[in-house]
Symmetry: C2
Subunit: 331 residues, 2 copies
């Protein structure tokens, strides 16, 4: 299901931020599934499975809106960039699901559960390479370097997350570092690359907008892991916690009056059902969720601040709309 | 242990093909371990572990020799290319060892056994990105495209191998296709990229030399999986067969008088020790091994033929020496 249809189902009115880039986004969605005829069917099925399952396509959306912000022109290179980013993002999802042993993604069995870890390793590698192929088409090795460096940093973020599982002494600083590297960096680099293609003087602003809205997006994702339901989320609620990933709501709860009990529960690594249930109840308390929402709002405010610092274009309203969507989304 | 030391131990005299590129190869080896200070220690340890364990570095060697063949000049871009290829090759080894559940590599526990599959996925991705970063440094997106396309094709080869496990009806054509995609292509692309950097008119010759010597190399590798010993090989003998990968010696044995019995044994998927022992005995018969050696020689001859079709440089003797090494190697 494509983003356009999906968002139609979720909100009564077509979001403005989609409306202004609708034809270009359609082109991105179409090309994600194109030119795969020469490869083995199992490989292409596994590699394109998550595209067909839908997804918010927020990274291409942001990239295309930044192109507009930087010059109002979306060129074929911007579209190639948007494709490359979604390919790269999907590759990381497939490999992350191996690492997190996630059974679901986008409401369907994850690639590792539908096929297996071996196919997932190969399908992820294939998409990483395809992403690199697309970015090369633009013909500017500065972009290739940016993306390669971003992937290295994302790997660093993944390792940090892996090593800090169940680590109740995780500092907020480490959480933010992981969040930046794992999620926000790709949005930042996508926005920066878009501004480079536009030959815009606002490269730093584009990067900062991507980075800050990326952190806000991930904090909301971490909240939804607790407050959403399986169906909306398309993956099991509480999976982050079960994997020992201690995100913003958990860190706030650890710092609350229930912190001592939560620590004990986390230390069991949730070997029984009761302990995860009790932990979820503690974390879900409004004061923890509100603090996490405020954190997301803080990063969104930084993005708004940067956006408002540059000359207003007609795309500002669409970016504003996108930031709001990121903050209020429920999936 | 570096290639120079390792080859010294194996043969009494320093091979000529190493001698002519010794300073450049040293530089490659040094840079493989450089500039990693900002990344997490576990990540860099897992990612550089196989470099420290040694390896033949045949891909950088071939790349550097082709540079010589194309103009006698090894530039800093050729060295960057050689680093990129070894990074990419090592990434594929780390991910392959997850797929094949290999316990050993280069005489040490494989990354997935020393750490685990999760760390292996991330370390492989990190090296893929680092390879892409290095190739971008050269500043020619044609090279980026070539490498990205090669990785996609290598993934296709991996999937083919995975899907054809224990498939006793595997045709020789399929075996050669897998061999080309899995192994030879990277050597071909490395040689081609080297000739592109040299602005040589012999791009096609460089590619063909890499491709054919790459197939010869892999056929010998497949022979060594049966005829070598664990210590020399640095990994368990017979592992390909145990994983159901039916390589040239197996295909020849299936086509021999013992073929019927071997089929029965393969169909058991080696659920007991006796069946793998009996299968190894059948495959190891001289007539099967000789046929496989002839196949490797055939592809080496094609490489020799191409080499002899282009104007002789002083590097021809070194390439000739490398081809011989590939054919007679025992590890």
């Amino acid at each position: 299901m494509c983003i356009i249809k999906r968002i139609k189902m979720k909100v009564t009115k077509q979001p403005f931020f989609i409306e202004v880039i609708r034809p270009q986004l359609k082109e991105v969605e179409k090309k994600l599934l194109a030119d795969l005829g020469t490869y083995n069917k199992v490989l292409t099925e596994a590699a394109t499975y998550l595209f067909k399952a839908g997804g918010k396509h927020l990274r291409p959306v942001l990239t295309l809106l930044i192109a507009r912000m930087c010059g109002n022109q979306i060129t074929s290179d911007h579209i190639t960039l948007a494709i490359s980013i979604e390919l790269l993002h999907t590759a990381t999802l497939i490999h992350d699901d191996i690492i997190d042993m996630s059974p679901m993604r986008r409401g369907l069995p994850s690639v590792n559960f539908k096929w297996n870890d071996k196919i997932s390793v190969i399908a992820g590698d294939f998409l990483l390479a395809r992403s690199s192929y697309y970015i090369s088409k633009i013909g500017n090795t500065r972009l290739n370097k940016l993306f390669a460096k971003a992937v290295m940093d994302m790997c660093d973020g993944e390792i940090l997350q892996l090593l800090q599982r169940y680590e109740i002494e995780t500092a907020f600083e480490d959480y933010l570092k992981k969040t930046e590297r794992k999620t926000a960096l790709l949005m930042a680099v996508g926005a920066l690359a878009s501004s480079i293609i536009s030959r815009s003087p606002y490269e730093k602003a584009a990067y900062d907008i991507g980075l800050n809205i990326g952190i806000a997006f991930q904090v909301i994702d971490d909240i939804l892991d607790f407050s959403s339901d399986n169906k909306k989320l398309g993956k099991p609620v509480g999976n982050d916690l079960l994997q020992g990933n201690l995100t913003a709501p958990v860190l706030y709860a650890l710092d609350s009056a229930d912190g001592k009990r939560l620590k004990e529960l986390i230390e069991t690594k949730f070997s029984d059902k009761e302990s995860i249930g009790e932990a979820l109840e503690i974390i879900n308390k409004p004061q923890n969720m509100d603090k996490a929402k405020n954190l997301a709002q803080h990063y969104a405010n930084l993005a708004y601040g940067t956006l408002n610092s540059i000359p207003v274009t007609e795309t500002h309203a669409a970016l504003d709309d996108l930031f709001k969507f990121i903050l209020v989304r429920s999936y």
